[in-house]
Amino acid sequence: MTNVAEKLFTDNQLKEVDKLIEEYGFQPGGLIPLLEKVQLLLGYVPESIQKRIADTSGIPANRIYGVVSFYSYFSMEPKARHRIQVCMGTACYVKGGKDIAERIEQQYEIKAGESTEDGRFTYEQTRCFGACGLAPVVVVDGKVYGKVTVDSIDEILSQYK
């Protein structure tokens, strides 16, 4: 397993991961912050990294897998260059968020949770950013776009190459 991690990531990245394990892996309740930091660093938390955390920290691998698979924040797949999150909260639903989602699905031939083949976009549906005053909302790479329409979404996404 370690070999897989070595192929996927650079020595420096793995060193950083080890540092994080050292910092959080031995604290009570440190597992989720640890995984959050690792995901920020690598973009995702594949099984090989989970195994590395388990081996070093002594936290059972099944518990780590259990946590990673439970929380929607964690991903076991690498992400594309840009992350599109279409809000599917109630206010956005009322204001036509579904139409935006369908438009993206048609345009890029992807379903929620998938990435485009060219590695440009990862597309997700999320529940409520709390920016309901601007519904429907789409978030691209953390930037919030409000009052999005089926027409304006193409223009917004064209800025992300």
Partner: protein, 571 residues
């Protein structure tokens, strides 16, 4: 920085109070920047104003940032306050308008009427009403612009939890102190016993604002009885109900009020460590909270010996990782422990065995934010508004097909009609009111014929809805009731933690029947099946989220059974 004494905090208060408003010869420009303000372009407006100050070398103008001003649909908003004159709030500001406002109003003292929303500030509404629409010592420069108290959106609110919004900079602890901030904590730590605190909170009648409405004082009392020093105060900021963002608004605009509430709670139950569990989808709130905690520590308001009173308490922010179920108290505690967020049966209740099996209280953001003022002003003051069984105010985030979308705080018992048609400015043009959904996926809807219903815990239940955490979404009649129910059921199915069978399989089956109805594949007994299944889930699901997941279905069935029947008949 050296920790402060109580006398020093009071000194800061006296100075900070004056500085909130423009000093002689000064012009303050408040840029209201919550998450939604920033998303609408408040940062560009801020940059444009900074640029104007620099380009014109106009040093009398001070640009201040605050959290959300409340009326999100009119953002970006700024307020220009010239000393000695009435402040003016501008709506839909962009870079161009900001520059125009700067050149005309800030530099020449002429209000730009076409961009103006109102005269005056939210924090002054009460005084303005008493003073017949003006403030002493403030010259009115254009009385053709409505006073802020003339706008129903603002006039009909009773701002207690939101009292500092639009005025203070959330990242400046002095601003909060200038608004009586930390006076509740000072009083609690220096002159009140645990019993006295419990009595005041109990007498106030404050009930949990997260939705269940359990008396806060009682919850505290149970935890206070436990004979150990190893206890925890938790703040539930995992605001997962879609369409609700009251807590985000409080955290982003007034984070210290929550921290102060936690200090008081800690003293009342005898705890020394607190956690704020905030969802990761709220990066600005997390950042604001962390800054606030840091500055509270530097003032000695958190730490080993708070303000020299000998009381020790500290707080840390814990970021959630995206699971709706973690808003449920036992699941939230498992999550802080680093486990999957699975709820567990109660008893034991958290007051006895909560986080790490230690006595724990969990309060919602808005609940905690109410506490400091209850301690400062007393339980009678708090109970002076509201209904017989539900005292104080409730913050709602009003969204959907409404003209005015935003966060509003009203006395409990305010009619739905007042919120929708007066504060909310009515339903958007071209749409007709069908229902308002309260309480999100655990709640129910209120149809047109019951718009006179007063919003309080008990009455809403009679009508098949709940108070919930404060999400109030107005839905137009172009949406079918079955589709609304399906939307919420899909949400509950997706967010089920998978532990209990009613929660996991029950919601899946419910959704499948609703899908069938929407897709014309239903059978004649579909409604019967839904009702039977709903009863089973209500009785047998492990946690409140599971039990209440059927509410949107039952409530749409109650008021729009005909739509279900028609959908089935049209097969």
């Amino acid at each position: 920085m050296k920790a402060k004494t109580i006398a020093e905090i009071n000194e800061i208060k006296a100075n900070a109070q004056k500085k909130l408003y423009p000093q002689e010869g000064e012009i303050k420009i408040f840029v209201h920047m919550g998450t939604c303000g920033i998303a609408s372009g408040a940062m560009d407006v801020f940059d444009a104003l900074k640029g104007e100050v620099k380009d014109n070398n106009f040093k009398a103008a001070k640009i201040v940032t605050t959290g959300c001003a409340g009326i999100c649909s009119k953002e970006p908003l700024i307020t220009v306050a010239v000393s000695g004159q009435e402040p003016v709030m501008y709506e839909y500001v962009d870079q161009e308008k900001a520059s125009a406002i700067f050149k005309q109003h800030v530099m020449k003292g002429q209000v730009v009427k076409e961009y103006a929303l109102a005269r005056g500030m939210q924090s002054e509404i009460k005084q303005r009403i008493e003073n017949k629409g003006r403030m002493e010592g403030q010259e009115i420069i254009d009385d053709t612009i409505p006073g802020i108290e003339d706008l129903p959106f603002f006039r009909l609110q009773e701002q207690r939890v939101m009292r500092n919004r639009g005025l203070i900079n959330p990242n400046r602890i002095d601003d909060y102190i200038g608004r009586d901030g930390y006076q509740g904590a000072i009083k609690a730590l220096s002159s009140m016993s645990s019993e006295e605190l419990l009595t005041v909170v109990l007498d106030s009648g404050l009930r949990g604002r997260g939705g269940a409405g359990f008396p806060t004082g009682l919850k505290w009392k149970f935890a206070a009885r436990e004979g150990t020093e190893d206890k925890y105060v938790l703040c539930n900021a995992d605001e997962g109900d879609p369409g609700a963002y009251m807590d985000r608004s409080v955290l982003e605009s007034d984070p210290h009020s929550v921290i102060e509430g936690m200090i008081i709670a800690a003293k009342a139950i005898g705890a020394h460590q607190g956690y704020i569990y905030c969802r990761a989808e709220y990066p600005l709130a997390v950042d604001t909270l962390n800054k606030a905690i840091k500055s509270a520590r530097s003032y000695g308001l958190l730490g080993d010996d708070i303000l020299g009173t000998g009381f020790a308490f500290d707080v840390a922010v814990y970021e959630g990782a995206g699971a709706f179920v973690c808003g449920e108290e036992t699941a939230l505690m498992r999550s802080i422990e680093g486990l999957r967020g699975n709820p567990r049966p109660r008893p034991p209740f958290p007051a006895h065995a909560g986080l790490w099996e230690k006595p724990t209280i969990l309060n919602n953001v808005e609940t905690l934010s109410n506490i400091p003022q209850i301690i400062v002003n007393g339980s009678e003051w708090f109970a002076s508004i509201g209904t017989e069984k539900s005292k104080g105010t409730k913050v709602f985030s009003i969204t959907g097909e409404l003209n005015n979308v935003g966060c509003v705080e009203v006395p409990i018992g305010t009619q739905l009609d007042t919120i929708v048609n007066e504060i909310g400015g009515g339903v958007c043009e071209g749409k007709t009111y069908k229902v308002a959904q309260l309480g999100g996926p655990s709640g129910g809807c209120i149809p047109k014929q019951h718009m006179d219903v007063p919003l309080d815990y008990e009455t809403l239940q009679e009508y098949g809805s709940i108070m919930g955490s404060g999400g109030l979404i107005v839905i137009g009649d172009d949406k079918s009731a079955v589709d609304i129910a399906r939307f919420f059921m899909e949400f509950c199915k997706d967010e089920s933690c998978g532990k209990c069978i009613p929660g996991r399989e029950g919601t899946t089956q419910m959704l499948s029947i609703l899908d069938n109805i929407c897709e014309g594949k239903a059978t004649d007994d579909s409604i019967d099946k839904i009702e039977e299944l709903a009863k089973v889930i209500q009785k047998t699901a492990l946690c409140a989220l599971g039990k209440t997941s059927v509410n949107p279905v039952l409530s749409t069935l109650r008021y729009f059974r005909n739509e279900y029947e028609e959908a089935i008949a049209n097969n």
